[in-house]
Amino acid sequence: MLLRGLTWLVLFQLLGTVINVLLLPMLPGPIIGMVLLFVALLVRGSASDSIQLAASSLLRYLPLLLVPPAVGVMVYTEAILEDFWAIVGALVISLVLSLVFTGWLMQLLIRRQKRNKEKA
């Protein structure tokens, strides 16, 4: 069951890579694969148990898979230290402001839409 779902995920990733090389060089293969799988699920009208199992198993360990890329920071310690405060300041302040703004705006719009529906 798990294997069948995993096969589909890998196939869509490979399909995404082919399309990336042939048609869409600005979008990475996995993102194209995700969009294609999403469209396929919409067309099919349901997500099989096997693909749900494979997806939830992989996504459970997503933080683990992100550890190796995060270790890559060690290569750039010098370049980062040179512009340290500019980089940290820009990253932290812009993250905090845009994170709070995103959450606040989204919640505001959700509540407004709900109110409008109740009125109508």
């Binding site: 995993l6 995920l9 890998v10 869509f12 990733q13 600005m26 979008l27 990475p28 996995p30 993102i31 694969g33 995700m34 969009v35 799988l37 999403f38 699920l41 997500a47 749900q52 494979a54 997806a55 996504l59 997503l62 933080p63 683990l64 898979l65 992100l66 550890v67 190796p68 890329p69 995060a70 270790v71 890559g72 920071v73 060690m74 750039y76 370049a79 512009d83 405060w85 500019a86 980089i87 820009a90 990253l91 302040i93 812009s94 993250l95 905090v96 402001l97 845009s98 994170l99 709070v100 703004f101 995103t102 959450g103 606040w104 705006l105 989204m106 919640q107 719009l109 959700i110 839409q113």
Partner: protein, 239 residues
Amino acid sequence: MTILQWHAAWQALIHHPLFGVGITLAAFQLAFAAYEKTRWVFLQPVLLSALMVIGILLLCGLSYPDYSASSRLLTVLLGPATVALAVPLYLNMRRIRELFVPIVVTLLLAGSLATALGMALAWAFGAERMILMTLAPKSVTSPIAMLVAEQIGGVVALAAVFVMITGVLGAILGPELLRRFGVQHPAARGMALGLTAHAVGTAQALQEGDECGAFAALAMSLMGVLTAVLLPLVVSLLL
């Protein structure tokens, strides 16, 4: 046992093609257990295990390319995991369709803010153009960020580092910040985490629940696609 034999065994151990996978798995489980036990935000599992792995590599005298080669088994799964995000997205489609207008408006306004603010602040703090162009795609998932940084004249590998720092910061600070500012709706929390902190934020959002995770995945992918298409265009028109 002679010292020479011990040395040969040590070399065989640290250069084994599974050494990277082994230390990553061990570090991650330790970090995860520490996080579960204390719930202390700075013990964010990705950050803590990355620091542990860096420590081990330095102690063993291994370089990042060594580690990168021996942890391939894990990184190669990032592709299928990205594809897998389509599933929670699909399963929450009904909720997403209901909130279509809020999603599009938030994406356009907050997405532009996240990108422009980072660049403006770095410029104000006196960072050079190369750093600015490398910072621009910081809010999107690293493959897209690396591609975009290259197109607009930034440093590809450094872009991945900024992406990673932003993601880890978002996962550490995000949940608490959102709570302080009264953002309780799972869709809004997911949207904020996925839009500003991409995959690491999405991983955090998945821990909060299905709906939160689905909106984070949605925000992450839309933000990624939008950045990949629009940012090179905007930069070539304005700067």
